[in-house]
Protein backbone atom coordinates (compact mmCIF):
# COMPACT_ATOMS: atom_id res chain seq x y z
CA UNK A 1 0.00 0.00 0.00
CA UNK A 2 1.25 3.49 -0.87
CA UNK A 3 1.41 5.68 2.20
CA UNK A 4 2.31 8.75 0.17
CA UNK A 5 0.92 9.17 -3.35
CA UNK A 6 1.50 12.33 -5.40
CA UNK A 7 0.02 12.64 -8.88
CA UNK A 8 0.68 15.45 -11.33
CA UNK A 9 1.96 17.56 -8.44
CA UNK A 10 2.61 21.07 -9.68
CA UNK A 11 3.50 24.40 -8.12
CA UNK A 12 3.88 27.51 -10.18
CA UNK A 13 4.77 30.95 -8.83
CA UNK A 14 3.79 33.17 -11.73
CA UNK A 15 6.00 32.03 -14.61
CA UNK A 16 8.32 30.07 -12.32
CA UNK A 17 7.64 26.35 -12.30
CA UNK A 18 8.97 25.29 -8.90
CA UNK A 19 7.50 21.78 -9.24
CA UNK A 20 6.18 20.68 -12.60
CA UNK A 21 3.82 17.74 -12.69
CA UNK A 22 5.68 15.12 -10.66
CA UNK A 23 4.32 11.67 -9.81
CA UNK A 24 5.65 9.44 -7.09
CA UNK A 25 4.54 7.02 -4.45
CA UNK A 26 6.12 5.83 -1.22
CA UNK A 27 5.17 2.42 0.10
CA UNK A 28 4.62 1.69 3.78
CA UNK A 29 7.84 1.33 5.74
CA UNK A 30 10.01 2.65 2.92
CA UNK A 31 12.60 5.37 3.33
CA UNK A 32 12.77 7.45 0.18
CA UNK A 33 15.38 10.10 -0.52
CA UNK A 34 14.51 13.30 -2.35
CA UNK A 35 17.69 14.55 -3.99
CA UNK A 36 18.45 17.57 -6.09
CA UNK A 37 20.43 20.77 -6.17
CA UNK A 38 19.30 24.04 -4.68
CA UNK A 39 16.08 25.16 -6.34
CA UNK A 40 15.30 21.69 -7.66
CA UNK A 41 11.91 21.71 -5.92
CA UNK A 42 12.57 19.48 -2.90
CA UNK A 43 11.44 21.93 -0.21
CA UNK A 44 8.43 22.96 -2.30
CA UNK A 45 7.46 19.30 -2.65
CA UNK A 46 7.79 18.67 1.08
CA UNK A 47 5.82 21.85 1.87
CA UNK A 48 3.01 20.64 -0.38
CA UNK A 49 3.03 17.22 1.27
CA UNK A 50 2.71 18.93 4.65
CA UNK A 51 -0.20 21.10 3.53
CA UNK A 52 1.87 24.22 4.13
CA UNK A 53 1.64 25.06 0.44
CA UNK A 54 -1.37 24.55 -1.83
CA UNK A 55 -0.41 22.92 -5.15
CA UNK A 56 -1.28 24.67 -8.39
CA UNK A 57 -2.39 21.31 -9.74
CA UNK A 58 -2.26 17.63 -8.90
CA UNK A 59 -3.23 15.56 -5.92
CA UNK A 60 -1.63 14.25 -2.74
CA UNK A 61 -2.89 11.35 -0.67
CA UNK A 62 -1.18 10.53 2.61
CA UNK A 63 -2.29 7.54 4.68
CA UNK A 64 -5.34 7.43 2.43
CA UNK A 65 -6.35 11.03 3.16
CA UNK A 66 -6.76 13.55 0.37
CA UNK A 67 -4.57 16.45 1.55
CA UNK A 68 -6.75 18.97 -0.29
CA UNK A 69 -9.86 17.99 1.69
CA UNK A 70 -8.82 16.18 4.81
CA UNK A 71 -5.29 17.24 5.65
CA UNK A 72 -5.74 17.47 9.42
CA UNK A 73 -6.56 13.75 9.70
CA UNK A 74 -3.23 12.97 7.99
CA UNK A 75 -1.26 15.66 9.84
CA UNK A 76 -2.15 14.11 13.19
CA UNK A 77 -0.40 10.90 12.08
CA UNK A 78 2.69 12.46 10.53
CA UNK A 79 5.42 14.86 11.57
CA UNK A 80 8.24 16.93 10.21
CA UNK A 81 11.71 18.09 11.10
CA UNK A 82 13.94 20.67 9.51
CA UNK A 83 16.95 22.59 10.83
CA UNK A 84 15.55 25.59 8.98
CA UNK A 85 12.35 25.79 11.03
CA UNK A 86 13.11 26.81 14.59
CA UNK A 87 11.45 25.95 17.87
CA UNK A 88 10.76 28.82 20.30
CA UNK A 89 14.19 29.71 21.65
CA UNK A 90 13.15 30.97 25.07
CA UNK A 91 11.16 27.89 25.98
CA UNK A 92 12.99 25.02 27.59
CA UNK A 93 13.38 21.74 25.72
CA UNK A 94 10.71 20.11 27.92
CA UNK A 95 8.31 23.04 27.41
CA UNK A 96 8.78 22.86 23.64
CA UNK A 97 8.09 19.14 23.62
CA UNK A 98 5.08 19.65 25.92
CA UNK A 99 3.63 22.23 23.49
CA UNK A 100 3.82 19.75 20.62
CA UNK A 101 2.57 16.94 22.84
CA UNK A 102 -0.58 19.02 23.30
CA UNK A 103 -0.82 20.05 19.64
CA UNK A 104 -0.61 16.40 18.55
CA UNK A 105 -2.87 15.26 21.42
CA UNK A 106 -0.24 12.79 22.62
CA UNK A 107 -1.35 10.55 25.47
CA UNK A 108 0.90 10.50 28.53
CA UNK A 109 2.96 13.39 27.17
CA UNK A 110 5.30 13.59 30.16
CA UNK A 111 6.19 9.89 29.91
CA UNK A 112 6.76 10.30 26.16
CA UNK A 113 9.07 13.27 26.76
CA UNK A 114 11.10 11.28 29.29
CA UNK A 115 11.24 8.34 26.88
CA UNK A 116 12.42 10.46 23.94
CA UNK A 117 14.88 12.37 26.13
CA UNK A 118 16.43 9.08 27.18
CA UNK A 119 16.65 7.74 23.64
CA UNK A 120 18.05 10.95 22.13
CA UNK A 121 20.36 11.79 25.03
CA UNK A 122 18.41 14.92 25.98
CA UNK A 123 17.70 14.17 29.65
CA UNK A 124 20.24 16.69 30.96
CA UNK A 125 18.98 19.34 28.55
CA UNK A 126 15.26 19.20 29.31
CA UNK A 127 15.25 22.33 31.46
CA UNK A 128 17.60 24.32 29.28
CA UNK A 129 16.19 27.01 26.91
CA UNK A 130 16.22 25.78 23.31
CA UNK A 131 18.13 28.90 22.28
CA UNK A 132 21.13 27.91 24.42
CA UNK A 133 21.70 24.57 22.70
CA UNK A 134 24.41 23.66 20.20
CA UNK A 135 23.47 22.82 16.60
CA UNK A 136 23.69 19.10 17.32
CA UNK A 137 21.55 19.39 20.43
CA UNK A 138 18.97 21.47 18.54
CA UNK A 139 18.80 18.82 15.83
CA UNK A 140 18.15 16.13 18.42
CA UNK A 141 15.44 18.28 20.03
CA UNK A 142 13.86 18.87 16.60
CA UNK A 143 13.93 15.12 16.04
CA UNK A 144 12.32 14.52 19.45
CA UNK A 145 9.60 17.02 18.47
CA UNK A 146 9.12 15.19 15.16
CA UNK A 147 8.71 11.88 16.99
CA UNK A 148 6.55 13.09 19.87
CA UNK A 149 3.37 11.66 18.29
CA UNK A 150 4.97 8.39 17.12
CA UNK A 151 4.36 9.40 13.48
CA UNK A 152 3.50 6.87 10.81
CA UNK A 153 4.95 9.23 8.21
CA UNK A 154 8.03 11.32 8.84
CA UNK A 155 9.17 14.09 6.50
CA UNK A 156 12.75 15.16 7.11
CA UNK A 157 14.42 18.12 5.45
CA UNK A 158 18.19 17.72 5.73
CA UNK A 159 18.01 16.10 9.18
CA UNK A 160 21.78 16.06 9.70
CA UNK A 161 22.73 19.40 8.15
CA UNK A 162 25.45 21.20 10.13
CA UNK A 163 26.08 18.24 12.42
CA UNK A 164 29.52 16.85 13.18
CA UNK A 165 30.12 13.31 11.84
CA UNK A 166 29.62 11.72 15.25
CA UNK A 167 26.25 13.39 15.92
CA UNK A 168 25.19 12.87 12.31
CA UNK A 169 25.91 9.14 12.64
CA UNK A 170 23.99 9.05 15.93
CA UNK A 171 20.93 10.60 14.29
CA UNK A 172 21.13 8.27 11.29
CA UNK A 173 21.44 5.22 13.53
CA UNK A 174 18.49 6.40 15.55
CA UNK A 175 16.37 6.91 12.42
CA UNK A 176 17.26 3.41 11.20
CA UNK A 177 16.25 1.93 14.53
CA UNK A 178 13.03 3.93 14.71
CA UNK A 179 12.01 2.85 11.22
CA UNK A 180 12.79 -0.79 11.97
CA UNK A 181 10.85 -0.74 15.23
CA UNK A 182 7.85 1.35 14.16
CA UNK A 183 7.50 0.62 10.45
CA UNK A 184 7.39 4.37 9.88
CA UNK A 185 7.49 5.67 6.31
CA UNK A 186 10.16 8.32 5.80
CA UNK A 187 10.68 10.87 3.04
CA UNK A 188 14.06 12.46 3.39
CA UNK A 189 15.47 15.48 1.54
CA UNK A 190 19.23 15.60 1.88
CA UNK A 191 22.42 16.80 0.28
CA UNK A 192 24.40 14.15 2.09
CA UNK A 193 24.75 11.33 -0.45
CA UNK A 194 26.34 8.89 1.99
CA UNK A 195 23.36 9.40 4.27
CA UNK A 196 20.94 8.73 1.42
CA UNK A 197 22.80 5.59 0.40
CA UNK A 198 22.72 4.35 3.97
CA UNK A 199 19.11 5.16 4.86
CA UNK A 200 17.10 5.09 1.66
CA UNK A 201 15.71 2.12 -0.22
CA UNK A 202 14.62 4.36 -3.07
CA UNK A 203 15.74 7.73 -4.44
CA UNK A 204 13.95 10.43 -6.42
CA UNK A 205 16.33 12.73 -8.29
CA UNK A 206 14.87 16.19 -8.85
CA UNK A 207 16.00 18.93 -11.16
CA UNK A 208 14.24 22.15 -12.10
CA UNK A 209 10.94 20.96 -10.72
CA UNK A 210 10.98 17.56 -12.40
CA UNK A 211 11.84 14.07 -11.22
CA UNK A 212 14.58 13.29 -13.71
CA UNK A 213 15.46 9.84 -12.43
CA UNK A 214 14.49 7.37 -9.75
CA UNK A 215 15.41 3.98 -8.40
CA UNK A 216 17.23 2.26 -5.58
CA UNK A 217 20.72 3.61 -4.79
CA UNK A 218 22.24 0.41 -6.17
CA UNK A 219 20.14 0.67 -9.33
CA UNK A 220 21.21 4.27 -9.92
CA UNK A 221 24.88 3.49 -9.29
CA UNK A 222 24.70 0.65 -11.75
CA UNK A 223 22.89 2.64 -14.44
CA UNK A 224 25.25 5.59 -14.20
CA UNK A 225 28.30 3.39 -13.80
CA UNK A 226 29.37 5.22 -10.67
CA UNK A 227 30.76 4.19 -7.31
CA UNK A 228 28.79 6.63 -5.21
CA UNK A 229 25.62 8.69 -5.38
CA UNK A 230 27.52 11.94 -5.29
CA UNK A 231 28.87 11.23 -8.77
CA UNK A 232 25.37 10.30 -9.95
CA UNK A 233 24.11 13.57 -8.46
CA UNK A 234 26.80 15.51 -10.34
CA UNK A 235 26.05 13.68 -13.58
CA UNK A 236 22.44 14.76 -13.32
CA UNK A 237 23.11 18.27 -12.00
CA UNK A 238 25.68 19.00 -14.73
CA UNK A 239 23.86 17.18 -17.53
CA UNK A 240 26.83 14.92 -18.09
CA UNK A 241 25.74 12.52 -20.85
CA UNK A 242 25.43 9.01 -19.56
CA UNK A 243 27.22 7.47 -22.56
CA UNK A 244 30.38 9.36 -21.56
CA UNK A 245 30.23 7.76 -18.16
CA UNK A 246 32.15 4.56 -17.99
Amino acid sequence: MDVIAAKGLTKHYGDTRAVDGIDFAVAAGQTVGLLGGNGAGKTTTIAMLLGLLIPTAGSIHILGHDMARDRFAALARMNFSSPYVALPQRLSVAENLRVYGHLYDVRHTEARIVELAGELDLTDLLNRPAGQLSAGQKTRVALAKALINRPEVLLLDEPTASLDPDTGDLVRSWLERYRAESGCTILLASHNMAEVERLCSHVLMMKQGHIVDRGSPADLLSRYGRDDLEEVFLDIARDRPRERVT
Binding site: T43, T44, I54, L75, F80, S82, L87, P88, S92
Partner: protein
Protein backbone atom coordinates in the same frame (compact mmCIF):
# COMPACT_ATOMS: atom_id res chain seq x y z
CA UNK B 1 -13.56 15.91 18.63
CA UNK B 2 -13.89 18.61 21.29
CA UNK B 3 -11.26 17.30 23.69
CA UNK B 4 -8.40 17.16 21.13
CA UNK B 5 -9.41 20.62 19.89
CA UNK B 6 -9.34 22.01 23.43
CA UNK B 7 -5.98 20.37 23.99
CA UNK B 8 -4.52 21.93 20.86
CA UNK B 9 -5.85 25.33 21.93
CA UNK B 10 -4.28 24.81 25.35
CA UNK B 11 -1.02 23.72 23.68
CA UNK B 12 -0.66 27.02 21.88
CA UNK B 13 -1.69 28.93 25.00
CA UNK B 14 0.84 27.01 27.08
CA UNK B 15 3.58 27.99 24.62
CA UNK B 16 2.88 31.69 25.36
CA UNK B 17 2.11 31.38 29.05
CA UNK B 18 5.38 29.49 29.61
CA UNK B 19 7.20 32.53 28.21
CA UNK B 20 5.58 34.79 30.80
CA UNK B 21 6.24 32.33 33.58
CA UNK B 22 9.97 32.56 33.02
CA UNK B 23 10.18 36.29 32.26
CA UNK B 24 9.01 38.87 34.80
CA UNK B 25 9.95 41.81 32.51
CA UNK B 26 7.43 40.49 29.97
CA UNK B 27 4.81 40.28 32.69
CA UNK B 28 5.64 43.79 33.90
CA UNK B 29 5.46 45.15 30.36
CA UNK B 30 1.83 44.01 30.11
CA UNK B 31 0.79 46.34 32.95
CA UNK B 32 3.27 49.13 32.23
CA UNK B 33 1.41 51.19 29.58
CA UNK B 34 -2.12 50.84 31.01
CA UNK B 35 -0.85 51.93 34.44
CA UNK B 36 1.23 54.78 33.08
CA UNK B 37 -1.62 56.03 30.88
CA UNK B 38 -4.05 55.86 33.79
CA UNK B 39 -1.65 57.81 36.06
CA UNK B 40 -1.17 60.61 33.51
CA UNK B 41 -4.87 60.94 32.69
CA UNK B 42 -5.80 60.54 36.35
CA UNK B 43 -3.60 63.49 37.33
CA UNK B 44 -4.93 65.56 34.44
CA UNK B 45 -8.55 64.75 35.30
CA UNK B 46 -8.10 65.44 39.01
CA UNK B 47 -6.47 68.82 38.19
CA UNK B 48 -9.47 69.94 36.11
CA UNK B 49 -11.96 68.16 38.35
CA UNK B 50 -10.84 70.18 41.38
CA UNK B 51 -11.44 73.44 39.50
CA UNK B 52 -14.80 72.62 37.95
CA UNK B 53 -16.75 71.50 41.03
CA UNK B 54 -19.48 68.85 40.69
CA UNK B 55 -19.48 69.04 36.89
CA UNK B 56 -15.77 68.41 37.07
CA UNK B 57 -16.33 65.30 39.17
CA UNK B 58 -18.58 63.81 36.49
CA UNK B 59 -16.08 64.75 33.78
CA UNK B 60 -13.34 63.20 35.91
CA UNK B 61 -15.27 59.93 36.07
CA UNK B 62 -15.97 59.96 32.33
CA UNK B 63 -12.35 60.58 31.49
CA UNK B 64 -10.90 57.92 33.78
CA UNK B 65 -13.64 55.44 32.85
CA UNK B 66 -12.85 56.10 29.19
CA UNK B 67 -9.12 55.65 29.74
CA UNK B 68 -9.52 52.35 31.58
CA UNK B 69 -12.15 50.88 29.26
CA UNK B 70 -10.22 51.88 26.13
CA UNK B 71 -7.24 50.00 27.55
CA UNK B 72 -9.46 46.89 27.52
CA UNK B 73 -9.84 47.23 23.74
CA UNK B 74 -6.19 48.15 23.19
CA UNK B 75 -4.76 45.29 25.29
CA UNK B 76 -7.22 42.83 23.80
CA UNK B 77 -6.20 43.82 20.25
CA UNK B 78 -2.48 43.75 21.02
CA UNK B 79 -2.89 40.46 22.88
CA UNK B 80 -4.02 38.67 19.73
CA UNK B 81 -1.73 40.43 17.27
CA UNK B 82 1.46 40.23 19.36
CA UNK B 83 0.93 36.57 20.25
CA UNK B 84 0.69 35.85 16.51
CA UNK B 85 3.80 37.93 15.86
CA UNK B 86 5.67 35.92 18.53
CA UNK B 87 5.19 32.86 16.30
CA UNK B 88 6.66 34.75 13.35
CA UNK B 89 9.59 36.15 15.33
CA UNK B 90 10.47 32.70 16.68
CA UNK B 91 10.17 31.27 13.12
CA UNK B 92 7.89 28.62 14.56
CA UNK B 93 4.98 28.97 12.11
CA UNK B 94 6.33 26.14 9.96
CA UNK B 95 5.92 23.73 12.88
CA UNK B 96 2.60 25.13 14.10
CA UNK B 97 0.87 24.97 10.73
CA UNK B 98 2.00 21.42 9.93
CA UNK B 99 0.52 20.22 13.20
CA UNK B 100 -3.18 19.28 13.34
CA UNK B 101 -3.99 22.74 14.79
CA UNK B 102 -6.93 24.15 12.80
CA UNK B 103 -6.94 27.87 11.90
CA UNK B 104 -10.01 28.46 14.10
CA UNK B 105 -8.19 26.80 17.01
CA UNK B 106 -5.27 29.15 16.47
CA UNK B 107 -7.66 32.12 16.58
CA UNK B 108 -9.39 30.72 19.69
CA UNK B 109 -6.04 30.31 21.47
CA UNK B 110 -4.99 33.85 20.55
CA UNK B 111 -8.32 35.23 21.78
CA UNK B 112 -8.15 33.46 25.16
CA UNK B 113 -4.54 34.61 25.50
CA UNK B 114 -5.65 38.17 24.79
CA UNK B 115 -8.17 37.95 27.63
CA UNK B 116 -5.40 36.82 30.00
CA UNK B 117 -3.04 39.54 28.77
CA UNK B 118 -5.77 42.15 29.03
CA UNK B 119 -6.67 41.12 32.59
CA UNK B 120 -3.03 41.15 33.72
CA UNK B 121 -2.47 44.51 32.03
CA UNK B 122 -5.63 46.42 32.92
CA UNK B 123 -6.52 45.16 36.41
CA UNK B 124 -3.48 46.81 38.09
CA UNK B 125 -4.46 50.12 36.44
CA UNK B 126 -8.07 49.72 37.63
CA UNK B 127 -6.88 49.02 41.18
CA UNK B 128 -4.44 51.92 41.08
CA UNK B 129 -7.19 54.29 39.87
CA UNK B 130 -9.20 53.26 42.91
CA UNK B 131 -6.22 53.63 45.28
CA UNK B 132 -4.89 56.94 43.91
CA UNK B 133 -8.03 58.75 42.77
CA UNK B 134 -10.81 56.91 44.58
CA UNK B 135 -12.23 56.09 41.15
CA UNK B 136 -13.87 52.68 41.27
CA UNK B 137 -14.68 51.44 37.78
CA UNK B 138 -16.79 48.67 39.29
CA UNK B 139 -19.36 51.21 40.50
CA UNK B 140 -20.65 51.09 36.91
CA UNK B 141 -22.23 47.83 38.02
CA UNK B 142 -22.70 44.53 36.19
CA UNK B 143 -23.14 46.37 32.89
CA UNK B 144 -19.37 46.93 33.04
CA UNK B 145 -19.01 43.29 31.98
CA UNK B 146 -21.06 43.98 28.84
CA UNK B 147 -18.97 47.08 28.07
CA UNK B 148 -15.78 45.05 28.50
CA UNK B 149 -17.05 42.17 26.34
CA UNK B 150 -17.84 44.59 23.52
CA UNK B 151 -14.47 46.32 23.74
CA UNK B 152 -12.61 43.00 23.86
CA UNK B 153 -14.59 41.80 20.83
CA UNK B 154 -13.64 44.98 19.00
CA UNK B 155 -10.00 44.31 19.86
CA UNK B 156 -10.35 40.79 18.42
CA UNK B 157 -11.78 41.80 15.05
CA UNK B 158 -9.30 44.64 14.65
CA UNK B 159 -6.45 42.23 15.42
CA UNK B 160 -7.84 39.62 13.03
CA UNK B 161 -7.62 42.35 10.40
CA UNK B 162 -4.03 43.09 11.46
CA UNK B 163 -3.08 39.39 11.39
CA UNK B 164 -4.65 39.15 7.91
CA UNK B 165 -2.47 42.05 6.75
CA UNK B 166 0.60 40.36 8.27
CA UNK B 167 -0.32 37.16 6.40
CA UNK B 168 -0.55 39.24 3.22
CA UNK B 169 2.47 41.52 3.66
CA UNK B 170 4.65 39.59 6.12
CA UNK B 171 6.32 40.90 9.26
CA UNK B 172 6.69 44.27 7.48
CA UNK B 173 3.11 44.97 8.56
CA UNK B 174 3.90 44.28 12.22
CA UNK B 175 3.85 47.98 13.21
CA UNK B 176 0.07 47.82 12.72
CA UNK B 177 -0.14 45.52 15.74
CA UNK B 178 0.67 48.51 17.96
CA UNK B 179 -0.77 51.37 16.01
CA UNK B 180 -4.00 50.46 14.29
CA UNK B 181 -6.38 50.83 17.23
CA UNK B 182 -4.81 54.16 18.19
CA UNK B 183 -5.88 55.39 14.76
CA UNK B 184 -9.49 54.56 15.69
CA UNK B 185 -9.31 56.43 19.02
CA UNK B 186 -10.54 59.78 17.64
CA UNK B 187 -13.64 58.10 16.17
CA UNK B 188 -14.34 55.93 19.19
CA UNK B 189 -15.65 58.80 21.34
CA UNK B 190 -13.49 57.63 24.24
CA UNK B 191 -13.01 61.03 25.88
CA UNK B 192 -15.82 63.08 24.29
CA UNK B 193 -19.29 62.40 22.87
CA UNK B 194 -19.87 61.58 19.20
CA UNK B 195 -21.70 64.92 18.85
CA UNK B 196 -18.35 66.72 19.22
CA UNK B 197 -17.17 65.22 15.92
CA UNK B 198 -17.89 67.00 12.62
CA UNK B 199 -21.22 65.83 11.19
CA UNK B 200 -19.57 64.02 8.28
CA UNK B 201 -17.43 61.94 10.66
CA UNK B 202 -20.28 60.83 12.92
CA UNK B 203 -21.48 57.93 10.71
CA UNK B 204 -17.93 56.54 10.79
CA UNK B 205 -17.86 56.81 14.58
CA UNK B 206 -21.27 55.18 14.94
CA UNK B 207 -20.10 52.27 12.76
CA UNK B 208 -17.64 51.41 15.53
CA UNK B 209 -18.90 49.43 18.56
CA UNK B 210 -16.56 51.43 20.80
CA UNK B 211 -18.45 54.71 20.17
CA UNK B 212 -21.67 53.05 21.40
CA UNK B 213 -19.90 51.61 24.46
CA UNK B 214 -18.52 55.01 25.48
CA UNK B 215 -21.81 56.81 24.76
CA UNK B 216 -23.42 54.18 26.98
CA UNK B 217 -20.81 54.67 29.68
CA UNK B 218 -21.34 58.44 29.71
CA UNK B 219 -25.13 58.04 29.87
CA UNK B 220 -24.70 55.70 32.83
CA UNK B 221 -22.36 58.08 34.68
CA UNK B 222 -24.57 61.13 33.99
CA UNK B 223 -28.07 59.72 34.47
CA UNK B 224 -27.57 56.36 36.15
CA UNK B 225 -29.54 54.64 33.37
CA UNK B 226 -28.33 51.99 30.95
CA UNK B 227 -28.59 52.95 27.27
CA UNK B 228 -29.70 49.56 25.95
CA UNK B 229 -29.99 50.93 22.44
CA UNK B 230 -26.28 51.71 22.35
CA UNK B 231 -25.55 48.31 23.88
CA UNK B 232 -27.55 46.54 21.16
CA UNK B 233 -25.74 48.53 18.46
CA UNK B 234 -22.38 47.62 20.00
CA UNK B 235 -23.17 43.88 20.04
CA UNK B 236 -24.68 43.97 16.54
CA UNK B 237 -21.75 45.87 15.02
CA UNK B 238 -19.25 43.60 16.75
CA UNK B 239 -20.99 40.54 15.31
CA UNK B 240 -20.84 42.08 11.82
CA UNK B 241 -17.20 43.19 12.09
CA UNK B 242 -16.14 39.86 13.65
CA UNK B 243 -17.80 37.96 10.83
CA UNK B 244 -16.10 40.13 8.22
CA UNK B 245 -12.68 39.95 9.89
CA UNK B 246 -13.01 36.17 10.33
CA UNK B 247 -13.77 35.80 6.62
CA UNK B 248 -10.83 38.03 5.71
CA UNK B 249 -8.53 35.96 7.96
CA UNK B 250 -9.63 32.68 6.35
CA UNK B 251 -9.14 34.13 2.84
CA UNK B 252 -5.68 35.48 3.71
CA UNK B 253 -4.72 32.23 5.44
CA UNK B 254 -5.56 30.31 2.28
CA UNK B 255 -3.81 32.89 0.13
CA UNK B 256 -0.69 32.58 2.33
CA UNK B 257 -0.75 28.80 1.75
CA UNK B 258 -1.05 29.38 -1.98
CA UNK B 259 1.82 31.88 -2.05
CA UNK B 260 4.08 29.83 0.22
CA UNK B 261 4.19 32.69 2.75
CA UNK B 262 4.59 30.30 5.68
CA UNK B 263 7.90 29.11 4.23
CA UNK B 264 9.45 32.56 4.28
CA UNK B 265 7.62 34.45 7.01
CA UNK B 266 9.96 35.66 9.73
CA UNK B 267 12.94 35.96 7.45
Amino acid sequence: MIRPALRRIWGLMYRHLALYRRSWPRLLELAYWPTLTMCIWGLTASFFGARLGSAGAVAFGMLLGGVLLWEVALRSQMGVAISFLEEIWSRNLGHVFVSPLRPWELVAALIVLSVVRMAVGVLPAVLLAWALYAFNLFTLGPVLILFAINLMAMGWWVSLGVVSLILRHGAGAEALAWSVLFALTPFSAVYYPVSVLPAWLRPLALALPSAHVFEGMRTLLQTGTIAWGHMAWAFGLNALWLGGAGLLFMLEFRSARERGAFLTMGE
